[in-house]
């Protein structure tokens, strides 16, 4: 057998983790979402976690399609509602590792209130948010994360609204783990996800990723490679940085790293501890 044929027959290491019968995927070439999926799959493999006990929930958007491609119990819910869906799933089966994988519009725009409250309750879920600075699926509209002066289809003269800094928001709401990377930092994203798998409570990882077709084209930022170069030149790793200092200006500097890593009992543990104290032996513990 020639080397070439062998290489062709060799199984792609991602095959066990992806729904190969759904490939090719819908993402544009040069899109950053796939890179984050690769890191996620890599983290699943390296964590040697029981895949039968991991669920993935997405909302709607380009990133929202991730749930459809990953071979786990996977739920493609409604726009903005991945977090409450995941909340029900996690509380319904507490032994599962529940991951929300969705876009910035989904998680911080329409779903912002759920994000805030799930973090406040310290719901035991891992939220991976692909931030491409716009609403991509619907054609590049302004988002709650769009930098000031960026041009978007519904901000055709440039955005003038203050954007969210997602790590700051997550931190302020009480998340136990907060990190930000760009999709240039593939290995660090993987490590962050692995680390987050080991932790309990509301864990949040933001990954800044290029939307080449809409955001980049509209703002004449070049192709995927140009954007990765921008990430390379303008991102600075600063672990433990004060989350109040993480704003991202248009084509400006991006502070990345792990900002928060704290221990705090998650929702169910709080419930069981509290109820045992309040009700004694009469309490029937749940999900322990």
């Amino acid at each position: 057998m020639s080397k070439d044929v062998k290489a062709q027959e060799a199984k792609n290491p991602m095959e066990d983790f992806l729904r190969m019968d759904r490939i090719p995927h819908i993402w544009c070439s040069g899109c950053g979402i796939g890179v984050v999926v690769t890191s996620f799959v890599d983290a699943l493999r390296k964590s040697e976690i029981d895949l039968n006990k991991v669920a993935i929930v997405s909302g709607i958007g380009c990133t929202g399609r991730v749930a459809g491609y990953v071979k786990l119990d996977s739920f493609h819910s409604t726009h903005g509602r991945a977090i409450p869906f995941a909340t029900g799933l996690k509380l319904g089966n507490p032994e599962m590792q529940v991951v929300v994988f969705s876009g910035d519009g989904d998680i911080a725009g329409i779903g912002g209130n759920h994000f805030v409250h799930a973090a406040r309750r310290n719901m035991d879920i891992l939220v991976i948010c692909v931030n491409n600075f716009n609403y991509a699926m619907t054609g590049g509209q302004v988002a709650a994360t769009s930098p000031i002066n960026a041009n978007l289809s519904t901000a055709p003269y440039g955005n003038f609204e203050y954007p969210f800094s997602l790590p700051y928001l997550a931190d302020a709401c009480g998340a136990t783990y907060v990190a930000r990377w760009t999709c240039l930092h593939i290995r660090r994203v993987t490590m962050s996800i692995q680390e987050a798998f080991q932790k309990k409570g509301f864990r949040f990882i933001e990954v800044i990723a290029p939307c080449v077709t809409l955001y980049a084209r509209r703002n004449r930022l070049g192709d995927g490679l140009n954007l990765l170069k921008y990430y390379h030149d303008n991102s600075e790793i600063r672990h433990g940085a004060d989350t109040r200092t993480l704003d991202i200006g248009y084509q400006g500097k991006m502070i990345v790293g792990k900002f928060v890593d704290r221990e705090k009992p998650p929702f169910l543990e709080c419930m069981n501890t509290h109820m045992k104290k309040a009700l004694g032996d009469k309490y029937v513990p749940y999900g322990e």
Partner: protein, 388 residues
């Protein structure tokens, strides 16, 4: 459907004096509901409060979510984790739930929602009765789908029909509704809760075949696909997008046709099995009063008065409001002079009576815009008019 052994921890066997809202919570616990997510709203809040008070002694989850959108969506997640899940709300909250009621319908997820109706539109009459969401429950989310809705007329029925609602929801994999109203919700009456072994609860249709063969949307002989639980190793997919048997999105007219027909037909073709109503003296009636919920109790007074006045009046009380018992109305329409339909709205279920009667007999609406129940005299007047 397989019968499920009822967990006695949830069953408060005995005779109680409960309001309808409390009875819904007790019905849910008896049915094995162990997940409740909700957001406070008058006049439904007591159900949530009761559940929150009781669940720590039974073992399960009560969670007050940030809004009704989150509440109903959390139910869908919990249901896929294998839990029987419910929420309760009223007008404004019901409106907020609509998009994800559609998701539950599309994902064919069993969930139960009680709507303790108050007067609308908008904030309307927070503390006063209405029956104005009867069409919203049927049509409220976008797209074509069907649901099941029941309407209790007493606290006892709130208990009984909540168990029924869970059984139907599990059997047909469909969101199922308890469409009660402020009067029944806040009315205190005797509620008898039977011993656990006398309560009939059905088991969800779990898939038991080989793992790799599981198809979440392949209809079984009775049209209802098998379900599995997240975490059991099937690694399945489900989506709110138009999907094939595998649950994979397929965006074309052909697949859309398959999905939409299925979501509708599984209810329509099983309608005779689902529908329940209560009929009295319709055999040689000239007039039949069609009503539901609190209004059927008020109408009963008018019916008694009309009978005293020598009018042959029958009654048909809807227990299942959706699917609507159109076959029965059609039969009656051939025999009666007219239907009288009192409801606490400006004309909703009357449209269904009219449609089913198909011109064979008129349907006379006795509207009430909400805030209080009818004066029986108004219904009596309509009966007299109808008998002419």
């Amino acid at each position: 459907m397989k019968k499920l052994k009822v967990d006695p921890k949830g069953v408060l066997t005995g005779a109680h004096y409960l309001d309808g809202d409390f009875a819904i919570a007790e019905g849910a616990l008896a049915a094995g509901c162990r997940f409740f997510a909700g957001y406070p709203i008058t006049p439904s809040t007591e159900t949530a409060e009761r559940f929150a008070e009781r669940i720590p002694f039974v073992g399960g989850i009560f969670i007050q979510m940030e809004d009704e959108i989150a509440s109903v969506t959390a139910l869908i997640g919990a249901s896929w984790a294998g839990k029987k899940a419910m929420t309760v709300t009223s007008g404004p909250g019901f409106s907020l739930m609509m998009e994800n009621i559609g998701l539950a319908a599309m994902m064919e997820t069993p969930i139960v929602i009680a709507n303790v109706q108050r007067g609308g539109p908008s904030t309307g009459l927070p503390t006063l009765v209405g029956q104005q969401d009867m069409m919203q429950v049927r049509w409220g989310s976008h797209g074509d789908y069907k649901i099941i809705a029941l309407s209790p007329d007493s606290p006892q029925e709130c208990f009984d029909l909540t168990i029924q609602a869970f059984n139907l929801s599990e059997t047909y994999r469909v969101p199922t509704f308890i469409m009660t109203d402020e009067c029944v919700g806040h009315m205190h009456e005797k509620v008898v809760i039977p011993p656990a072994d006398k309560i009939e609860v059905v088991e969800r249709k779990w898939y038991e075949g080989p793992k790799e063969k599981y198809l979440p949307y392949k209809p079984d002989k009775d049209m209802i696909p098998f379900m599995v639980k997240a975490g059991d190793g099937y690694r399945f997919h489900t989506t709110g997008l138009t999907h094939d048997e595998r649950g994979y999105p397929v965006i074309n007219a052909e697949c859309q046709d398959w999905v939409v027909r299925h979501l509708n037909d599984k209810i329509t073709k099983n309608a005779e099995k689902i529908i329940k109503y209560e009929e009295e003296q319709t055999d040689n009636a000239e007039v039949v009063v069609v009503s539901y919920g609190i209004t059927s109790r008020v109408a009963y007074r008018a019916v008694q008065l009309a009978r005293k006045a020598g009018i042959k009046v029958g009654t048909l009380r809807l227990i299942t409001v959706w699917p609507f018992p159109e076959k029965r109305i059609k039969e009656l329409a051939k025999k009666v002079k007219a239907f009288v339909v009192p409801e606490i709205n400006y004309g909703q279920m009357v449209l269904e009576v009219e449609r089913a009667a198909a011109g064979k007999a008129p349907a006379i609406l006795v509207p009430h815009c909400g805030g209080w129940v009818h004066n029986p005299e108004d219904i009596l007047k309509a009966i007299k008019e109808a008998a002419k």
